[in-house]
């Protein structure tokens, strides 16, 4: 016996609350990294902004844009093996956003990221940490070092990192109040 398909939601019932219950999964894998000569981080960030903007509040789509842009930028500013591949996974639902990026890094590179993630997770005053870090790094015009802090302080994501077989995973999670 076949299962009857569901009836489509009438257009006039596709309001914001209904649309925000959409489940969106997005996966991208690109390699080798040295074939990328353009602003891939920007392109993917804008792409995600447009797709999520179709279903979720604009603020959620903007958060995803920032996170994707910062995490993918980190990949290309810290390439360990130019012949390797990076992966991006994004899941959006009414409960929030999960975005992760996986790429090859050395143990030394991972140790720096892990230290930064630990600092973010353990600091009692993240805003003060961001402010002092920006001022210190600006004085020396240092590149990088702000992206992960930004995701946590500005965009309210929880940040985790892991390292397995030479590949680093950075995961950013944002939880919204569950819609009824």
């Amino acid at each position: 016996m076949s299962i009857e398909p569901s009836a489509p939601t009438p257009l006039d019932q596709l309001d914001e609350q209904t649309l925000s219950k959409t489940l969106t999964n997005f996966r991208l894998s690109v390699g080798p990294l040295d074939h990328v000569t353009g602003d891939l981080a920007g392109l993917v960030g804008e792409h995600v902004l447009q797709i999520l903007g179709m279903f979720y509040p604009k603020n959620i789509a903007k958060k995803a844009n920032v996170v994707v842009t910062e995490l993918v930028t980190n990949v290309f500013e810290n390439i360990y093996d130019p012949k390797s591949t990076f992966e991006l996974e994004l899941e959006a639902a009414s409960t929030g956003l999960t975005i992760l990026v996986r790429n090859d890094v050395s143990a030394e590179q991972y140790a720096k990221v892990q230290a930064r993630v630990n600092l973010i997770r353990e600091t009692p005053d993240l805003r003060a940490l961001v402010a002092s870090t920006i001022r210190e790094r600006r004085a020396q015009r240092l590149k990088g070092g702000l992206g992960l802090m930004r995701l946590a302080q500005e965009n309210k994501f929880a940040i985790e990192s892991a390292y397995l077989d030479g590949r680093m995973t950075v995961k950013a999670t944002y939880a919204t109040a569950v819609q009824g």
Partner: protein, 135 residues
Amino acid sequence: MKILTFGEIMDGGATVFHSVATVDDRSLRHRFEGVIRVDNPYRSLKEHIDELNAKVPGLGIDEILIDFSELRFCNSNGFYVIMDIVEALYLNATEAKVTVRRLDDDDWQRETLPILLNVDDESIGRRTNFQNVRE
């Protein structure tokens, strides 16, 4: 109203970001428009920042509007140039009250922008008023 100085960032053959300062009598308006994503925005905006530092002193500016409402995106590589520009305005028009127009639902403009403006500094904070607008 006249244009005092402007800077732009080009990416892929197109202008992606404008930073424009205009003056009308003793009022200065600085408008940011577009996106900052490039690797080194300072390279594109250095002359603009230098011009602000050279031209704003002596204008007798008593009110400044810094308008971020058309700035759609700023990656962390863009933080320093934003700081350079707003610092040039604050430090070279020391008597001016500053209104900062920003987007109400933008995390960057709500959370990080006040840090870049350094409003925690009492001398900056008391001169600064935020005007929150919807997109």
